[in-house]
Every structure is written in C-alpha cells, then in structure tokens.
C-alpha cells in the first residue's frame, strides 16, 4: 500500500469541497462585504481616510479567518465525537494534511487576495471617475490607492516586501504543519519555537542577506511609533509608515494572532498524528 497516493489526495480534496463549500463561500463573502464597506468608507472620507488602518484591518481579518479555518479543520481531525468520519476515512495523515492545506491555506488565501485586487481596481476606477468629474473635491491621496489593500501593487516587480511577506506566510504554514506531522516528542513546544525562530530568521534574512534593506526607527511620542523604510536597489526607497498608534497596535496584534493560530493549528495536527502513529 502506497504511503502517499495522488488518487486518495484528489478524493480528499473533492470530499473537502463538498463538505465545506458553504462555509468557504460564507468566509469569502464576508471578506467581500468587508472590502465593499472599506471602499465605501474610503470614497466617502476622500483624502482624510487613514489608509494604513484600513489595510491592516482587511489583512487582519483575512489572516484571522484563515487561521481559524485551518485550526478548526485540524481540530475535527482528532475529535472522536465529531471527526469520526474524517478519522476513519481511508487516507494517511499526510494526505489529509495536504488536502486541508490546499483549501484553507492556498485556495482561501488566493481567493482573498484576488478579491482584494478586483476591489482595488474597482476602487481606483471609482476614484478616477470622481476625480475627473470634480478634481478639487475628489483629490484622493496616492498613498491610499497604493497601500490600503494587499493588492496587485504588492505583486509587482518593484515591491519585493509584500510579495515576500505573503510568500513567507504561506511557506510558514506549509513547513510548520509538515514539521508538526513528523515531530514526535515535545512537539507542542518545539513547533512554537520553530514558529518563533522562523520569524526571526526571516527578519534576519530581509535585513542582511537580501538586497532589500530595512531601517526601523522606533520612538516614543506619547505612543510607540514605528517607521519602516524599504530600499530596493535600482528602484529607490519606499516608505511603510506605521507611525499611527492604532496601526502599530493592529500590526502587533496581527503578528500575535498569526502566531497563536499557527500554534493552535499545529497542536491540533500533532494530536491527530499522535493518534495515527
């Protein structure tokens, strides 16, 4: 009997879709609704909209929902009350893991990003039309269009930071869950440590080895303020100003939430692996 079978994996992926398509559409629909509200808010606020807060809010919601989806998916794998059917489905834990990863990490994340890109284009089109109709009343800040979405702009060749960040987030999930399946002893603590180490290594990598250069200034001005400056060779400097108190808090919360959800998902996956092995 094969340890890994593509046929079983494709069966699992199909099964997952039939079992979860409604909750999947609900999650994507919620993101869509949120984005419509953000665009409506941005348009109505005109130049005064704080783009960083909106960007962070959207990103946080997407990541939170994604983390929650993954965590719950792995939870049902080891739950002998509600997950009996999944547990007894003839497939290996690796195949089950990949099918969950495929839908909740890959497809859900990509759906969220594509949705954002569509909404971004719509927002820009509306902004452009409003500006043409009345240039004085509708002078939208350039920064708003560039930074408040995790948008197509982040996947362009001159914007390495966001591209790497999303790529890293995806790689993190895959590697940590994969490691969680293989680690036997002390796996909960170890996976949390790997997770933390991953973030630090990534920080070290982007600061020292990669041509993208980050300068971070942190200071106290009634609240903590953080400024990032990205320098790309041959392209120039781009600022990621996180100097609004609320934004800074949201960014920190975002990282904390991501770590917590990844850790939770790992723990649930480990329980399943322990049972199976």
């Amino acid at each position: 009997m094969k340890q890994f079978s593509m046929k079983r994996l494709s069966n699992l992926i199909t099964t997952w879709w039939f079992e979860n398509k409604f909750s999947f559409f609900r999650s994507v629909g919620f993101l869509f609704l949120l984005q419509v509200l953000v665009i409506w808010y941005w348009i109505s606020m005109n130049r005064y909209a704080p783009p960083h807060v909106l960007w962070t809010l959207l990103t946080m919601v997407l990541l939170f929902m994604q983390g929650q989806r993954i965590s719950n998916a792995f939870k049902s794998l080891h739950d002998t009350e509600t997950g009996t059917q999944w547990l007894l489905l003839p497939a290996t834990p690796h195949e089950k893991f990949i099918s969950i990863f495929f839908w909740n990490s890959l497809v859900f994340l990509i759906s969220g990003i594509f949705l954002s890109i569509i909404m971004e284009k719509t927002a820009l089109l509306i902004a452009e039309q409003l500006y043409i109709s009345n240039p004085i009343a509708y002078e939208f800040r350039d920064v708003g269009t560039n930074e408040f979405f995790f948008s197509s702009d982040y996947f362009s060749t001159d914007n390495g930071f966001m591209k790497m960040l999303w790529g890293f987030w995806l790689a993190c999930q895959f590697l940590f869950y994969w490691a969680a399946i293989r680690i036997k002893k002390g796996s909960n603590i170890l996976s949390a440590l790997i997770l933390m180490a991953g973030f630090y290594i990534y920080g070290f990598y982007i600061r020292t080895l990669h041509p993208i250069f980050f300068k971070k200034n942190t200071g106290w001005d009634g609240a903590w303020e953080v400024n990032y400056h990205e320098y790309i060779e041959g392209v120039g400097e781009r600022n990621y100003d996180l100097n609004e108190t609320l934004t800074s808090c949201l960014q920190i919360s975002l990282i904390a939430v991501c770590i917590y959800l990844l850790y939770k998902a790992c723990t649930n996956l480990i329980r399943e692996t322990k049972i199976s092995q």
């Binding site: 009997m1 059917q85 007894l88 003839p90």
Partner: protein, 239 residues
C-alpha cells in the same frame, strides 16, 4: 479475525476494562450488550482504532486498529450513535466517500436507500435524524467492509425501518464479514444475532453463541437471559 488480548482500558484514570480477552469470527452478527457506562461504545472505538488500549493488544485481520493504516481503514466502517452528515444530496455520498472503499457498490447503496424508502436526491441536512441514520446505514452496508461496527443502529428508526434494517443486515452478511452491534434495544434485532457478548462491571459476563445463551437462560428471550446472567453474577460477587 478479531482478537482482543488481555486488554485494560482506563478512561480518565477510571478503570473501564480489566484483562479482557475476546475473539469474533467472520460470518457472524454479534451483539454487544451491557448497562449504561459499561463500555460498549468504548469497545467499538477500540476496535475501530479511535482509541488505544491502556494495556494489551487488539488485532483485526493481522492489523493493529490504532495504527489506522489505509488497508485497515478500507476494511472497516463504523456507524456511531450520533454523527454529522454534509449538506449534500444522499446520492452525492457515492462521489464523496465511495471512492475510498475498494469494495463499495453504488448500486447496492441506491438499493439500500430504496429499501429504506429514502429518496436518493433528498438533501441530507433537511432529513430527520432517523432518515439520516437510514442513509448512513445504507452507505455503511454498501461499503462491503469486512468489519462493520454499529452503535445503537435502531435508535431513531421507526418500526418499519427496523424491520428493513434486519432484512438488509441478514441479506448483506457473508462469510468474510463480521458485524458487531452495540445496543440497548435487544428486541429490535435479537433474532439476527448469532453471537452475544455481555460486558458488566469491567469484565466479560458472557461471550458465546446465542444458542448457548438460550440454553443457559432456559428461554428464547435474549433480554431474560441477559437479566439471568446479571443476577447470577451478582450472586457470585456476594458469595
């Protein structure tokens, strides 16, 4: 086929079984009886590989259930007392789960549904619990696994459906297949069982054929024989 050797099982530090030995052969429909909390469902979960024994070994056709290898899982199906079905039409179960079981028969599944009078195109979420159970039992039988574990299969079924279940179970038993049924509703299926296992106070009070049970109890009624065994065991403990 199923060998349970010297197993102990503790649930949250409380002893459920102590040093139990059991053997079930294929070609039989076995009843698993016992009081509430005696560990009938736990035994089914141990056999399915959902739980590991605290001590001892379980072997099913040479496989250890708790390893949950793919060949083992392809040859076992468990219908728990309560379960959750996806929001799809009954016929979709063929596409969703059928392909995982090498001996699954879609025709048999549809015939079973027909016997239970459940339309194949009905939405599972809109069905009552009893109707859902009929769908899941139809699917379980159509998987043609060598081991079929049923936990309280008649709960939620109407009188006519209980008769259909009896008919389907006896029709779909073969020499390779073993069906273990945990139940409190002995009368619903008693003429179907040819083997009886009674678990009482962490021990096996009876593990023999229905025929011998009737001879021991001096009655055709399985319920009365069961009560007699319990009374005798009680006397033995007092002595």
């Amino acid at each position: 086929m199923i060998e349970v050797n010297n197993i102990d099982f503790y649930y949250e530090n409380k002893l459920v079984y102590k040093d139990i030995d059991l053997t079930w052969q294929p070609g039989h429909i076995a009843a698993l009886l016992g009081a509430n909390g005696s560990g009938k469902t736990t035994m089914l979960r141990l056999l399915a590989g959902l739980l590991p024994p605290s001590n001892g070994t379980i072997s099913i056709a040479g496989e250890t259930p708790f390893a949950r290898s793919v060949p083992f899982l392809q040859n076992i199906f468990m219908v728990p007392e309560s379960f959750e079905l996806p929001t799809v039409k009954a016929s979709m179960l063929v596409k969703m789960y059928g392909s995982f079981y090498p001996q699954f028969s879609a025709t048999q599944f549809l015939q079973n549904l027909d016997a239970f009078e459940v339309p194949a195109e009905s939405n599972l979420k809109k069905l009552s619990f009893g109707q859902q159970k009929k769908v899941w039992l139809s699917f379980a039988l159509a998987c043609n696994t060598n081991l079929l574990l049923l936990d309280e299969p008649t709960n939620g079924l109407d009188i006519a459906s209980k008769a259909t279940l009896r008919k389907q179970l006896s029709a779909q038993l073969n020499t390779n297949r073993c069906i273990v049924v945990s139940t409190h509703q002995v009368r619903d299926l008693e003429y179907l069982f040819d083997w009886v296992t009674i678990i009482e106070k962490g021990d096996i009070a009876w593990h023999d054929s229905t025929e011998n049970l009737s001879a021991y109890g001096q009655t055709e009624s399985m319920e009365e024989s069961y009560l007699r065994i319990l009374r005798n065991q009680e006397k033995l403990i007092q002595q």
